[in-house]
């Protein structure tokens, strides 16, 4: 069965004066969730806007839900719900105005589901947007995107600036949307906990390039932190897997990438004893990648 990818980006390039997206490849299978992680200015928002057809790439191709963008953007956008941090609603109008507006455009608008979401999010239909708090605005935008029952959700930083309670509401509702088998989610976030919790795939972006794009479990499986005791002041083995090494007295902490069971042996063979092997959180992997990319390596550790 040949289901088209929800999103297919090939070799996307975009040049700005102080920033450049280079050769970005991104594929999202239907029915899955992909989280885009990266520091500010890495290009997450740019990629998402190119996927939405709001920006035109200098080179490369974009296909969303089988439609090539921007030529068939109308057909594609009928099935995409978009949320962005810098997106606003009409302040002087009520939530109901926006619901009516979208209902007049989308056949797929589900009144009941919209009402359910209003209740769940504790929003009042007749309230004007300008009277809403930031969290309520985000929830309103989310409700408006979800009630159309789109096949693809593209969310740029949906949880940024939200208090923990609202953040949970947003994440929960994003997961609820996946009850529908064919629904896919592509979202970006600073918050690595969010990404770690609900993503099936993680794509890590830095400096306009894709550093890594992988299944989440494999991603987390690849990295380990080894705590070692270096009693004989031996030199660390020269492994390409070492992303970072910190030494303090006889204690040594090494961050290792592409981990497999033979690696601890390399250290014991080099004369160090392995005290423990720990997994890293996504945030720690993220920071390690950023540090590594900045050229912050500390491998040379003889006394």
């Amino acid at each position: 069965m040949n289901i088209p990818l929800a999103v297919q980006c090939e070799r996307i390039t975009k040049q700005y004066r102080h920033f450049q997206l280079q050769d970005v490849d991104l594929s999202l299978e239907q029915g899955t969730v992909m989280g885009l992680v990266g520091p500010n200015g890495a290009g997450k928002s740019t990629i998402l806007r190119i996927i939405m057809g709001l920006l035109g790439p200098d080179a490369g191709s974009v296909k969303v839900l089988g439609h090539s963008m921007p030529d068939h953007q109308i057909a594609a956008k009928r099935n995409i719900g978009f949320i962005a941090e810098d997106m606003r609603l009409y302040e002087s109008q009520t939530i109901d105005f926006h619901m009516g507006f979208l209902k007049s455009i989308f056949d797929s608008w589900d009144d009941e589901y919209a009402a359910t979401l209003l209740r769940r999010f504790d929003l009042i239909r007749e309230q004007k947007v300008k009277g809403l708090s930031h969290g309520q605005r985000v929830k309103t935008t989310l409700m408006l995107a979800l009630a159309r029952r789109p096949n693809l959700l593209v969310f740029d930083e949906p949880t940024t600036g939200l208090d923990p309670a609202v953040r949970k509401e947003v994440l929960d509702e994003m997961m609820n949307a996946l009850e529908e088998e064919t629904r896919s989610i592509l979202f970006s976030s600073h918050n690595t906990l969010d990404i770690e919790q609900i993503s099936d795939y993680i794509t890590f972006i830095y400096g306009g390039r894709i550093i890594e794009s992988k299944n989440k479990e494999d991603f987390l499986d690849d990295w380990r932190r080894l705590r070692l005791t270096n009693m004989h002041s031996s030199q660390l083995p020269n492994l390409p897997n070492i992303k970072d090494a910190q030494q303090s007295g006889q204690l040594c902490t090494v961050t290792v990438y592409d981990f497999d069971d033979t690696i601890p042996k390399e250290f014991t063979n080099a004369g160090l004893s392995v005290d423990s092997i720990e997994r890293l959180t996504l945030e720690e992997i993220f920071l390690s990648n950023v540090n590594f990319a900045k050229g912050n390596m500390n491998k040379d550790l003889t006394l």
């Binding site: 939405m52 709001l54 035109g56 009928r78 962005a84 997106m87 009409y90 007049s104």
Partner: protein, 229 residues
């Protein structure tokens, strides 16, 4: 299957601008009343000057506010990504904006022009020789508006739009004063019959071309924008 959402966009802008439009219509009716009261009370040329001002000011102001709130604010208040994430292209978005703004302004302009022409000629305040000149004045205002509309869509900036409107206003006034004293026009203003000589016809043609050019250029330039937020 793909039906365009242009009607919904136009309706949305109309709903957003309801109050502004109704207030402008009310003001126009009010000023019409004022003008009719002043007929015969003050010298006719003064009446024309004030009259044109009073009658057209609400229309022009309405047109200006509409383009500010529907074109410039869409960008400056960040509602544009919301709209552009809907099934719509840049071309359709531009078309919907032009359609809304031009239809509201044109309706008001036609109504007010009809009133102005009636007051001038229907009531016999002026000889028919003045007709070409009055036509030029009314068209001049329409042309200035259309240029401003184009700028508001192309730049979506408060500063640039205001600057452009001021420039267009001033140059329209200046050119109208100049035209009023041009021999081929001035000679026939007080004549009994309207004289459409080549000068008059050329001026009107240029004005119509300006309107068409402003609309076409806006559509053309907008379509070439690849980065639309």
């Amino acid at each position: 299957m793909s039906t365009s959402i242009i009607p919904q966009l136009v309706k949305k802008d109309f709903l957003l601008m309801r109050k502004v439009i109704f207030i402008s219509i009310a003001l126009s009716i009010f000023s019409t009343g004022v003008i009719t009261q002043l007929i015969g009370e003050i010298p006719d040329w003064t009446l024309v000057n004030i009259g044109i001002l009073f009658l057209l000011a609400p229309v022009f102001a309405c047109g200006f506010m509409l383009m500010m709130f529907t074109n410039v604010h869409e960008k400056e208040k960040s509602t544009q990504p919301f709209i552009m994430s809907l099934p719509v292209t840049v071309r359709e978005f531009t078309f919907a904006k032009l359609l809304f703004n031009l239809s509201v302004f044109s309706t008001m302009w036609v109504a007010v022009s009809a009133v102005a022409l009636y007051i001038c000629f229907g009531l016999g305040l002026f000889p028919l020789g003045t007709f070409p000149f009055i036509t030029i004045v009314l068209l001049g205002i329409y042309a200035a508006y259309t240029c401003g509309l184009g700028i508001s869509l192309l730049f979506q900036s408060t500063g640039i739009t205001i600057l452009a409107m001021v420039i267009f206003e001033v140059s329209t006034s200046a050119s109208l004063w100049t035209i009023a004293y041009m021999k081929p026009i001035a000679n026939h203003i007080y004549g009994a019959n309207p004289v459409w000589n080549s000068t008059a016809i050329t001026i009107v043609t240029v004005q119509v071309l300006i309107v068409i050019f402003a609309i076409v250029a806006t559509l053309f330039i907008q379509n070439r924008k690849r980065d639309f937020i």
